[in-house]
Protein backbone atom coordinates (compact mmCIF):
# COMPACT_ATOMS: atom_id res chain seq x y z
CA UNK A 1 0.00 0.00 0.00
CA UNK A 2 1.34 3.45 -0.90
CA UNK A 3 0.92 6.67 1.12
CA UNK A 4 -1.50 8.02 -1.50
CA UNK A 5 -3.66 4.92 -1.22
CA UNK A 6 -3.60 5.13 2.55
CA UNK A 7 -4.55 8.81 2.53
CA UNK A 8 -7.42 8.12 0.17
CA UNK A 9 -9.01 5.65 2.61
CA UNK A 10 -8.11 7.64 5.74
CA UNK A 11 -11.44 9.58 6.02
CA UNK A 12 -13.29 6.26 6.07
CA UNK A 13 -11.06 4.63 8.67
CA UNK A 14 -12.32 3.97 12.14
CA UNK A 15 -10.22 2.79 15.05
CA UNK A 16 -9.58 -0.58 13.38
CA UNK A 17 -7.26 -0.90 10.41
CA UNK A 18 -6.86 -3.71 7.92
CA UNK A 19 -3.69 -5.82 7.94
CA UNK A 20 -2.49 -3.98 4.85
CA UNK A 21 -3.07 -0.60 6.49
CA UNK A 22 -1.35 -1.73 9.70
CA UNK A 23 1.68 -2.84 7.73
CA UNK A 24 1.84 0.50 5.96
CA UNK A 25 1.63 2.37 9.25
CA UNK A 26 4.50 0.32 10.67
CA UNK A 27 6.70 1.08 7.71
CA UNK A 28 5.75 4.74 7.11
CA UNK A 29 6.49 7.25 9.86
CA UNK A 30 4.76 10.13 8.03
CA UNK A 31 1.44 8.27 7.85
CA UNK A 32 1.71 6.92 11.38
CA UNK A 33 2.48 10.44 12.68
CA UNK A 34 -0.51 11.74 10.77
CA UNK A 35 -2.83 9.11 12.28
CA UNK A 36 -1.40 9.74 15.77
CA UNK A 37 -1.97 13.49 15.42
CA UNK A 38 -5.54 13.10 14.18
CA UNK A 39 -6.31 10.71 17.05
CA UNK A 40 -4.78 13.12 19.56
CA UNK A 41 -6.92 15.99 18.23
CA UNK A 42 -10.02 13.84 18.38
CA UNK A 43 -9.33 12.65 21.94
CA UNK A 44 -8.56 16.12 23.22
CA UNK A 45 -11.72 17.48 21.59
CA UNK A 46 -13.89 15.26 23.80
CA UNK A 47 -12.67 17.16 26.86
CA UNK A 48 -14.21 20.35 25.48
CA UNK A 49 -17.74 19.03 25.95
CA UNK A 50 -19.60 21.10 28.53
CA UNK A 51 -16.54 23.08 29.55
CA UNK A 52 -18.14 26.54 29.39
CA UNK A 53 -20.52 28.14 31.88
CA UNK A 54 -23.27 30.53 30.73
CA UNK A 55 -23.73 33.78 32.64
CA UNK A 56 -26.49 33.90 35.31
CA UNK A 57 -28.53 36.20 33.04
CA UNK A 58 -29.38 33.29 30.80
CA UNK A 59 -31.33 31.55 33.54
CA UNK A 60 -32.84 34.87 34.68
CA UNK A 61 -34.13 35.50 31.17
CA UNK A 62 -35.46 31.95 30.86
CA UNK A 63 -37.25 32.24 34.20
CA UNK A 64 -38.81 35.56 33.21
CA UNK A 65 -39.97 34.09 29.89
CA UNK A 66 -41.37 30.97 31.61
CA UNK A 67 -43.40 33.14 33.95
CA UNK A 68 -44.58 35.43 31.17
CA UNK A 69 -45.70 32.44 29.11
CA UNK A 70 -47.48 30.93 32.10
CA UNK A 71 -45.38 27.75 32.02
CA UNK A 72 -44.52 28.10 35.71
CA UNK A 73 -47.38 27.53 38.07
CA UNK A 74 -47.38 29.04 41.52
CA UNK A 75 -47.23 26.35 44.20
CA UNK A 76 -50.30 26.17 46.45
CA UNK A 77 -49.94 27.92 49.83
CA UNK A 78 -49.04 25.13 52.19
CA UNK A 79 -49.64 26.42 55.69
CA UNK A 80 -51.68 29.59 55.52
CA UNK A 81 -52.80 29.32 59.14
CA UNK A 82 -49.24 29.46 60.44
CA UNK A 83 -48.83 33.04 59.26
CA UNK A 84 -50.49 35.85 61.18
CA UNK A 85 -52.84 37.65 58.80
CA UNK A 86 -51.98 41.09 60.22
CA UNK A 87 -48.30 40.76 59.34
CA UNK A 88 -49.05 39.48 55.88
CA UNK A 89 -51.42 42.38 55.21
CA UNK A 90 -48.77 44.80 56.44
CA UNK A 91 -46.16 43.46 54.04
CA UNK A 92 -48.28 42.58 51.04
CA UNK A 93 -48.45 46.16 49.81
CA UNK A 94 -44.68 46.08 49.41
CA UNK A 95 -44.91 43.75 46.41
CA UNK A 96 -46.40 46.15 43.86
CA UNK A 97 -44.82 49.14 45.61
CA UNK A 98 -41.30 47.74 45.32
CA UNK A 99 -41.84 46.74 41.72
CA UNK A 100 -43.24 50.15 40.78
CA UNK A 101 -40.48 51.90 42.71
CA UNK A 102 -37.76 49.99 40.91
CA UNK A 103 -39.26 50.43 37.47
CA UNK A 104 -39.73 54.18 38.07
CA UNK A 105 -36.21 54.47 39.45
CA UNK A 106 -34.88 52.59 36.46
CA UNK A 107 -36.72 54.84 34.03
CA UNK A 108 -35.52 57.96 35.86
CA UNK A 109 -31.93 56.78 35.91
CA UNK A 110 -32.18 55.77 32.30
CA UNK A 111 -33.53 59.19 31.31
CA UNK A 112 -30.97 61.05 33.35
CA UNK A 113 -28.05 58.79 32.71
CA UNK A 114 -28.22 57.85 29.06
CA UNK A 115 -30.58 60.28 27.36
CA UNK A 116 -29.38 62.43 24.48
CA UNK A 117 -29.38 65.52 26.72
CA UNK A 118 -26.47 64.01 28.64
CA UNK A 119 -24.15 63.62 25.73
CA UNK A 120 -22.66 67.10 25.97
CA UNK A 121 -22.05 66.89 29.71
CA UNK A 122 -18.56 66.31 31.06
CA UNK A 123 -17.74 62.75 32.07
CA UNK A 124 -16.98 63.70 35.67
CA UNK A 125 -20.44 65.16 36.24
CA UNK A 126 -22.01 62.13 34.66
CA UNK A 127 -20.20 59.75 36.98
CA UNK A 128 -20.98 61.82 40.04
CA UNK A 129 -24.68 61.87 39.18
CA UNK A 130 -24.87 58.21 38.36
CA UNK A 131 -23.37 57.13 41.63
CA UNK A 132 -25.25 59.63 43.75
CA UNK A 133 -24.64 58.48 47.33
CA UNK A 134 -28.24 58.91 48.46
CA UNK A 135 -29.56 56.91 45.58
CA UNK A 136 -27.04 54.15 46.16
CA UNK A 137 -27.93 54.08 49.86
CA UNK A 138 -31.63 53.83 49.07
CA UNK A 139 -31.00 50.85 46.82
CA UNK A 140 -28.71 49.11 49.31
CA UNK A 141 -31.19 49.81 52.11
CA UNK A 142 -34.04 48.35 50.07
CA UNK A 143 -32.01 45.27 49.24
CA UNK A 144 -31.13 44.70 52.89
CA UNK A 145 -34.72 45.21 53.96
CA UNK A 146 -35.86 42.70 51.38
CA UNK A 147 -33.26 40.18 52.53
CA UNK A 148 -34.32 40.69 56.15
CA UNK A 149 -37.93 40.08 55.17
CA UNK A 150 -37.05 36.91 53.27
CA UNK A 151 -34.69 35.79 56.04
CA UNK A 152 -37.28 36.23 58.74
CA UNK A 153 -39.81 34.08 56.90
CA UNK A 154 -37.55 31.54 55.18
CA UNK A 155 -34.00 31.71 56.49
CA UNK A 156 -32.71 29.12 54.03
CA UNK A 157 -33.79 31.28 51.08
CA UNK A 158 -31.90 34.35 52.22
CA UNK A 159 -28.57 33.28 50.73
CA UNK A 160 -30.18 32.46 47.38
CA UNK A 161 -31.87 35.85 47.18
CA UNK A 162 -28.73 37.61 48.32
CA UNK A 163 -26.88 35.94 45.48
CA UNK A 164 -29.63 36.88 43.03
CA UNK A 165 -29.59 40.48 44.16
CA UNK A 166 -25.83 40.66 43.93
CA UNK A 167 -25.98 39.22 40.42
CA UNK A 168 -28.73 41.56 39.28
CA UNK A 169 -26.95 44.58 40.82
CA UNK A 170 -23.79 43.62 38.92
CA UNK A 171 -25.92 43.33 35.78
CA UNK A 172 -27.30 46.82 36.38
CA UNK A 173 -23.80 48.15 36.91
CA UNK A 174 -22.54 46.54 33.68
CA UNK A 175 -25.57 47.79 31.78
CA UNK A 176 -25.06 51.32 33.13
CA UNK A 177 -21.43 51.29 32.10
CA UNK A 178 -22.30 50.11 28.59
CA UNK A 179 -25.07 52.67 28.27
CA UNK A 180 -22.79 55.46 29.45
CA UNK A 181 -19.91 54.52 27.22
CA UNK A 182 -22.22 55.00 24.23
CA UNK A 183 -25.39 56.94 25.15
CA UNK A 184 -26.81 56.51 21.63
CA UNK A 185 -26.52 52.72 21.74
CA UNK A 186 -30.12 51.48 21.70
CA UNK A 187 -29.07 47.94 22.63
CA UNK A 188 -27.22 49.15 25.72
CA UNK A 189 -30.28 51.15 26.77
CA UNK A 190 -32.46 48.12 26.27
CA UNK A 191 -30.07 46.07 28.44
CA UNK A 192 -30.36 48.71 31.15
CA UNK A 193 -34.16 48.60 31.06
CA UNK A 194 -34.02 44.78 31.17
CA UNK A 195 -31.66 44.96 34.14
CA UNK A 196 -34.13 47.07 36.13
CA UNK A 197 -37.03 44.87 35.12
CA UNK A 198 -35.09 41.85 36.35
CA UNK A 199 -34.44 43.49 39.68
CA UNK A 200 -38.11 44.37 39.98
CA UNK A 201 -38.91 40.75 39.28
CA UNK A 202 -36.50 39.52 41.96
CA UNK A 203 -38.29 41.78 44.45
CA UNK A 204 -41.67 40.60 43.29
CA UNK A 205 -40.69 36.93 43.50
CA UNK A 206 -39.01 37.34 46.89
CA UNK A 207 -41.95 39.08 48.48
CA UNK A 208 -44.51 36.92 46.75
CA UNK A 209 -42.82 33.71 47.86
CA UNK A 210 -41.99 34.82 51.33
CA UNK A 211 -45.51 36.00 52.08
CA UNK A 212 -48.29 33.65 53.06
Amino acid sequence: MTCEEFERVLPELGSRHSIEQEEHLKSCSACSDLVADLNAISQQARHLQGSEEPSPWVWNSIEVALRQEGLVRQPPQEHPLLHPPRLSWKLRWLVPAAAVFLVVLGVLMHQRGVGPARIAQPAGVETADLHHPNQAEVMAGDDLQLLDTVGSRMPSMRAAYEENLRAVNAYIQDAEQSAHSDPNDEVAQQYLRNAYEQKAMVYEMALDRSLP
Partner: protein, 200 residues
Protein backbone atom coordinates in the same frame (compact mmCIF):
# COMPACT_ATOMS: atom_id res chain seq x y z
CA UNK B 1 -41.28 28.25 47.68
CA UNK B 2 -41.03 26.46 51.01
CA UNK B 3 -37.76 25.27 52.55
CA UNK B 4 -38.75 21.67 52.10
CA UNK B 5 -39.51 22.23 48.46
CA UNK B 6 -36.25 24.04 47.90
CA UNK B 7 -34.37 21.20 49.51
CA UNK B 8 -36.22 18.71 47.39
CA UNK B 9 -35.50 20.85 44.31
CA UNK B 10 -31.76 20.61 44.81
CA UNK B 11 -31.90 16.84 45.22
CA UNK B 12 -34.29 16.08 42.39
CA UNK B 13 -33.30 13.27 40.09
CA UNK B 14 -33.59 14.04 36.41
CA UNK B 15 -36.66 11.83 36.03
CA UNK B 16 -38.40 13.52 38.98
CA UNK B 17 -37.44 16.95 37.68
CA UNK B 18 -38.93 16.13 34.27
CA UNK B 19 -42.23 15.01 35.82
CA UNK B 20 -42.39 18.08 38.04
CA UNK B 21 -41.48 20.41 35.20
CA UNK B 22 -44.43 18.98 33.27
CA UNK B 23 -46.59 20.24 36.16
CA UNK B 24 -45.00 23.71 35.93
CA UNK B 25 -42.72 23.44 38.98
CA UNK B 26 -40.19 26.32 38.85
CA UNK B 27 -37.57 24.44 40.91
CA UNK B 28 -37.75 21.51 38.50
CA UNK B 29 -37.11 23.76 35.50
CA UNK B 30 -34.12 25.22 37.30
CA UNK B 31 -32.80 21.77 38.22
CA UNK B 32 -33.00 20.63 34.58
CA UNK B 33 -31.31 23.82 33.44
CA UNK B 34 -28.50 23.39 35.98
CA UNK B 35 -27.92 19.80 34.88
CA UNK B 36 -27.54 20.59 31.20
CA UNK B 37 -26.62 24.27 30.88
CA UNK B 38 -22.88 23.76 30.45
CA UNK B 39 -23.12 21.28 27.62
CA UNK B 40 -25.78 23.23 25.72
CA UNK B 41 -23.99 26.55 26.19
CA UNK B 42 -20.59 25.12 25.22
CA UNK B 43 -22.09 23.70 22.05
CA UNK B 44 -23.73 27.02 21.16
CA UNK B 45 -20.59 28.97 21.97
CA UNK B 46 -18.34 26.85 19.79
CA UNK B 47 -20.75 26.79 16.91
CA UNK B 48 -21.22 30.56 16.88
CA UNK B 49 -17.88 31.68 18.35
CA UNK B 50 -19.83 34.56 19.92
CA UNK B 51 -20.75 34.81 23.61
CA UNK B 52 -23.89 36.92 23.19
CA UNK B 53 -25.21 34.77 20.35
CA UNK B 54 -24.42 31.62 22.33
CA UNK B 55 -26.38 32.91 25.35
CA UNK B 56 -29.37 33.79 23.16
CA UNK B 57 -29.29 30.36 21.57
CA UNK B 58 -28.96 28.62 24.94
CA UNK B 59 -31.98 30.55 26.17
CA UNK B 60 -33.94 29.67 23.05
CA UNK B 61 -32.99 25.98 23.26
CA UNK B 62 -34.12 25.69 26.88
CA UNK B 63 -37.32 27.64 26.24
CA UNK B 64 -38.19 25.31 23.38
CA UNK B 65 -37.43 22.37 25.62
CA UNK B 66 -39.61 23.63 28.46
CA UNK B 67 -42.45 24.47 26.08
CA UNK B 68 -42.36 20.94 24.70
CA UNK B 69 -41.51 19.06 27.88
CA UNK B 70 -45.10 17.81 28.15
CA UNK B 71 -44.55 15.80 24.97
CA UNK B 72 -41.42 14.06 26.30
CA UNK B 73 -42.35 10.40 26.81
CA UNK B 74 -38.93 9.02 27.64
CA UNK B 75 -38.42 6.97 24.46
CA UNK B 76 -34.93 8.46 24.20
CA UNK B 77 -32.64 9.79 26.91
CA UNK B 78 -33.63 13.27 28.02
CA UNK B 79 -30.10 14.58 27.38
CA UNK B 80 -30.23 13.24 23.80
CA UNK B 81 -33.57 14.96 23.28
CA UNK B 82 -32.31 18.24 24.70
CA UNK B 83 -29.00 18.30 22.87
CA UNK B 84 -30.67 17.43 19.60
CA UNK B 85 -33.00 20.37 20.19
CA UNK B 86 -30.06 22.67 20.96
CA UNK B 87 -28.29 21.59 17.77
CA UNK B 88 -31.48 22.24 15.78
CA UNK B 89 -31.84 25.71 17.30
CA UNK B 90 -28.26 26.55 16.32
CA UNK B 91 -28.65 25.11 12.82
CA UNK B 92 -31.88 27.02 12.32
CA UNK B 93 -30.14 30.23 13.37
CA UNK B 94 -27.21 29.62 11.05
CA UNK B 95 -29.60 28.93 8.17
CA UNK B 96 -31.49 32.14 8.93
CA UNK B 97 -28.23 34.06 8.70
CA UNK B 98 -27.27 32.19 5.52
CA UNK B 99 -24.11 30.90 7.14
CA UNK B 100 -22.67 27.75 5.60
CA UNK B 101 -23.50 24.62 7.58
CA UNK B 102 -21.77 22.16 5.26
CA UNK B 103 -19.84 23.11 2.11
CA UNK B 104 -21.90 22.39 -0.98
CA UNK B 105 -19.40 20.18 -2.71
CA UNK B 106 -19.52 16.47 -1.90
CA UNK B 107 -16.16 14.79 -1.41
CA UNK B 108 -14.28 17.16 -3.64
CA UNK B 109 -10.80 17.36 -2.25
CA UNK B 110 -8.60 20.11 -3.53
CA UNK B 111 -4.87 19.90 -3.54
CA UNK B 112 -4.74 22.41 -0.71
CA UNK B 113 -6.98 20.31 1.50
CA UNK B 114 -5.26 17.00 0.80
CA UNK B 115 -2.86 15.68 3.43
CA UNK B 116 0.52 17.13 2.76
CA UNK B 117 3.79 15.34 3.00
CA UNK B 118 7.00 17.11 3.69
CA UNK B 119 9.76 14.60 3.08
CA UNK B 120 12.65 15.06 5.40
CA UNK B 121 10.77 17.38 7.77
CA UNK B 122 11.24 16.00 11.27
CA UNK B 123 8.18 17.24 13.16
CA UNK B 124 7.42 15.58 16.45
CA UNK B 125 3.87 14.33 16.91
CA UNK B 126 1.21 16.61 18.36
CA UNK B 127 0.11 14.02 20.91
CA UNK B 128 0.62 15.30 24.44
CA UNK B 129 1.30 18.85 23.32
CA UNK B 130 -2.26 20.00 22.58
CA UNK B 131 -3.77 22.05 25.37
CA UNK B 132 -7.42 22.94 25.67
CA UNK B 133 -7.07 26.64 24.98
CA UNK B 134 -4.97 25.99 21.94
CA UNK B 135 -7.49 23.55 20.57
CA UNK B 136 -10.38 25.92 21.29
CA UNK B 137 -8.67 28.74 19.42
CA UNK B 138 -7.89 26.45 16.51
CA UNK B 139 -11.50 25.23 16.31
CA UNK B 140 -12.80 28.78 16.17
CA UNK B 141 -10.42 29.40 13.23
CA UNK B 142 -12.02 26.58 11.23
CA UNK B 143 -14.40 27.41 8.38
CA UNK B 144 -17.99 27.16 9.74
CA UNK B 145 -18.90 24.03 7.75
CA UNK B 146 -15.90 22.05 8.97
CA UNK B 147 -16.36 23.40 12.48
CA UNK B 148 -19.94 22.20 12.67
CA UNK B 149 -19.15 18.61 11.68
CA UNK B 150 -16.07 18.47 13.91
CA UNK B 151 -18.01 19.73 16.93
CA UNK B 152 -20.90 17.36 16.39
CA UNK B 153 -18.68 14.32 15.90
CA UNK B 154 -15.53 14.78 17.94
CA UNK B 155 -16.82 17.01 20.75
CA UNK B 156 -20.48 16.01 21.07
CA UNK B 157 -20.02 12.39 20.04
CA UNK B 158 -22.71 12.12 17.34
CA UNK B 159 -22.35 9.39 14.71
CA UNK B 160 -22.05 10.25 11.04
CA UNK B 161 -25.56 8.98 10.24
CA UNK B 162 -27.02 11.25 12.96
CA UNK B 163 -25.00 14.23 11.72
CA UNK B 164 -26.06 13.59 8.13
CA UNK B 165 -29.69 13.61 9.22
CA UNK B 166 -29.33 16.74 11.36
CA UNK B 167 -27.46 18.93 8.91
CA UNK B 168 -28.96 17.46 5.73
CA UNK B 169 -25.94 15.98 3.99
CA UNK B 170 -24.76 12.50 3.04
CA UNK B 171 -22.85 10.25 5.44
CA UNK B 172 -19.91 10.34 3.05
CA UNK B 173 -19.90 14.10 3.09
CA UNK B 174 -19.96 14.13 6.87
CA UNK B 175 -16.93 11.80 7.00
CA UNK B 176 -15.10 13.81 4.39
CA UNK B 177 -15.75 17.13 6.17
CA UNK B 178 -14.65 15.67 9.49
CA UNK B 179 -11.40 14.47 7.98
CA UNK B 180 -10.75 17.85 6.40
CA UNK B 181 -11.54 19.58 9.68
CA UNK B 182 -9.05 17.40 11.58
CA UNK B 183 -6.42 17.96 8.90
CA UNK B 184 -6.97 21.70 9.07
CA UNK B 185 -6.74 21.63 12.86
CA UNK B 186 -3.49 19.69 12.65
CA UNK B 187 -2.12 22.29 10.28
CA UNK B 188 -3.15 25.17 12.59
CA UNK B 189 -1.80 23.44 15.71
CA UNK B 190 1.52 22.63 14.08
CA UNK B 191 1.87 26.18 12.81
CA UNK B 192 1.10 27.53 16.26
CA UNK B 193 3.67 25.20 17.82
CA UNK B 194 6.28 26.22 15.27
CA UNK B 195 5.54 29.89 15.95
CA UNK B 196 5.96 29.33 19.69
CA UNK B 197 9.26 27.51 19.13
CA UNK B 198 10.74 30.44 17.21
CA UNK B 199 9.83 32.94 19.94
CA UNK B 200 12.71 33.75 22.30
Amino acid sequence: MTDAKKQQGSKLSEAEAIERAKQGDAAAFEALYSLHKRRVYSLCLRMTANTAAAEDLTQEAFLQLFRKIGTFRGESAFSTWLHRMAVNVVLMQLRKKNLPIVPLEENIETEEEAPRKEPGAEDPRLAGSIDRMQLQRSISALPPGYRMIFLLHDVEGYEHNEIAEMVGCSIGNSKSQLHKARMKLREILRASRAEKATKP
